[in-house]
């Protein structure tokens, strides 16, 4: 059996490496179509992101909000509820934060905390709605949450427009956040802000909460078999709802941190997509927060890489989404190379048995 485990582990690495290689090959193919110098373009895509502090900082900036939404999704999905409302939670959480950050005056230590909490609470409510609709009315969460995202978008835009809009801004944006609310930058020359630290803290919290605490255990069991959880004495509805609230809370904090760390006023006009990114990352991380930093770094890296490529060479920027989609689809394919793995395992098993028999014969 040991041999088999070894093959399984090897295979995990090989499969991912292989799928990335294929995805890159496809990317290269597409790039060759449009670029005069595909090798240079490719270089910029793969190496480009690491060639300046600014760019590395950029990767981290892009990855920061994803840490939150992904951990939130890990928690929500572990209970086997496909709740896409992290997108709405992130957006509306940002709006709530903006509201607190522009309307109240508070001392600088407190202001960010209260603003972020406001974002978190709103996020929790947003993600709680599909759960309540599911528990009370048996409405399918994946559908209701997609609709709720749109409601969040327009509700948020309404608040920005009618409550906190800065007429002087010249475009649809809130007043500037109070200086006391802004999150400090961590490194000069980049926009990497305190949100990174908060995000990493959330990852650690998410890991211990989901994988090591009794609460997380019950969430995971509910996700795998609700009847069993009920039979074992778990309060299924309460836990189901609470984990959606917690997940939404974290996604909402993400929206808050992003606002206070990256911008000085609320200026989204559409859903930013970080909630959906969170879903992708959480799935890639197999709902284990431990792997979230790696997966979000990966996504941020290919995004920044593609951006750098679009900036420095002659390919249109839309190629970003193509490459991204191709890579994700390949990395997600579990049974890729399965036949090869199976053959290796069969062979290993036969060998093991043969050896064992030889030994028996030898001893006799």
């Amino acid at each position: 059996m040991n041999k088999v485990m070894k093959i399984e582990n090897q295979f995990k690495v090989i499969r991912i490496a292989f799928s990335i290689a294929i995805a890159l090959a496809i990317a290269f193919l597409i790039i060759s179509f449009v670029s005069d110098d595909p090798l240079y373009t490719m270089y910029n895509f793969i190496i480009g992101p690491f060639t300046s502090i600014n760019r590395i900082g950029n990767i981290i900036e892009v990855m920061t909000p994803l840490l939150f939404t992904a951990v939130g999704v890990c928690i929500m999905y572990s209970a086997n509820m496909i709740n896409m409302a992290s997108e709405g939670a992130f957006f509306l959480g940002g709006v709530a934060t903006a509201y607190v950050a522009v309307t109240y005056t508070m001392p600088s230590g407190i202001h960010p905390i209260i603003s972020i909490l406001a974002g978190g609470i709103v996020g929790a409510i947003v993600c709680g709605i599909p759960a309540i609709m599911h528990i009370k009315f048996n409405a399918l969460p994946v559908v209701s949450s997609l609709m709720i995202n749109y409601v969040c978008l327009y509700l948020g835009l309404f608040i920005v427009n009618y409550v906190i809009r800065d007429p002087q801004a010249g475009y649809m944006a809130s007043y500037k956040f109070a200086k006391t609310a802004i999150l400090p930058e961590l490194f000069s020359k980049t926009n990497v802000h305190l949100g990174l630290i908060i995000g990493l803290a959330v990852v650690v919290f998410g890991y211990y909460f989901l994988m090591r605490s009794k609460w997380g255990y019950s969430i995971r069991m509910i996700g795998k078999n609700t009847s069993f959880a009920k039979y074992s004495g778990m309060n299924v509805t309460a836990i189901l709802l609470s984990c959606q609230l917690i997940g939404g809370f974290i996604a909402g904090i993400g929206g808050a941190v992003e606002q206070l760390g990256m911008y000085n006023r609320f200026q989204y006009q559409k859903l930013p997509g970080h909630g959906f990114d969170g879903v992708m990352i959480a799935i890639l991380a197999r709902y284990n927060p431990k792997f979230v930093p790696l997966a979000s770094f990966f996504l941020a890296y290919i995004r920044v890489g593609a951006d750098v490529m679009a900036r420095t060479s002659d390919v249109p920027v839309e190629i970003v989404s193509i490459i991204q989609a191709v890579i994700i689809i390949f990395v997600a394919s579990e049974r890729f190379l399965e036949g090869w793995k199976y053959r290796r395992i069969v062979k290993a098993t036969k060998d093991t048995h043969a050896e064992a028999e030889k030994q028996v014969v030898g001893e006799a």
Partner: protein, 354 residues
Amino acid sequence: ATPKDGGNSSTDTNSGKDKTKVAVVINTNLGDKAFSDLVWSGVTRAAEDLDLEVKAFELLGDATRQEPTLTELSESGEWDLVVSGTFNLKEATQDAALEFPEQKFIVYDTEVDFAEDDYSNVVSVMSKQNEGSFLAGALAAMLTSSGIEGTNEEKVIGFVGGGENSAINDFLVGYIEGAKYVDPEVKVLYSYIGDFTNTAKGKELALAQYQQGADIVFAVAGSASLGALNASKEAGRLAIGVDQDHALNLEETDPETSKHIVTSVMKNLDVLIYDKIAEYVNGEIEWGKHIGAGLAENGMSLADNKYYREIVPAEIIEKVEEITEKVKSGEIEVPTAIGMSTEEVEAIKAKASK
């Protein structure tokens, strides 16, 4: 070769190094058949006439791309000029200008806060959309009861906006004011699509307005405007486009629709940007200044093409010219939504349906 209006590749370069290099930052994307393409067309024309190397950087409306793009462009020292603009990019560009005082910026379609800091490496240009829109409103108000083909008895005109934001509302305010100036009894219907991509919804909203008696719809919604323009053909009514001369644009591929597009409100940003680039190349540019170009400065105008001439009766054309002169001379002062509070905008909107 002529660069296509949607492309972001540079013009022919054979002796790349000694050419003046211009980077253009586009907040959304090229190919909107509206604002972004307009900016780009000014730049590409400059590139051809003045032999420049130009490249567009499209941010696809993603705010996280603003800072890295501007920093990188400025930091590289590769670009003689960075042309950046719209309200959304204003703050990021100002930051970059402060951080890299060596880098020169032309900022379009927003006003840089010259009073607040030292922006002696920046110049900003902006066209007053409210003034152009005023003319559109006046024109529509005159046409609605003129009896020309496509109009009806009722004094109702329409407006379809993309998302509700200040620029769109600036158009709307100018439009309402223009209509009311001509005839206070004209009713202005207005709707918002909610984004700038749902073209079909743009069409539906325009159709709904036609159904409610509007005969002319002014569509200000990026590429979603195309839906509203298409509706005019289907409803047999009239439409006014924005930012580009849509009648001429569609002439070849969809001549039927062109016949329903009375005119387009042109933001002559292309000209303004072209002029600034030319001044820079010739060493005549004055830094640290904002230019707000209205009708008087030729920053805005109505597209005057054969369709306009064909559809609009001569006396109305004359009237429009009169009004144009009055706005130019300052006799008519058009209010702007920029800087207006939401309540003030609401008050003007309330007037629309009276």
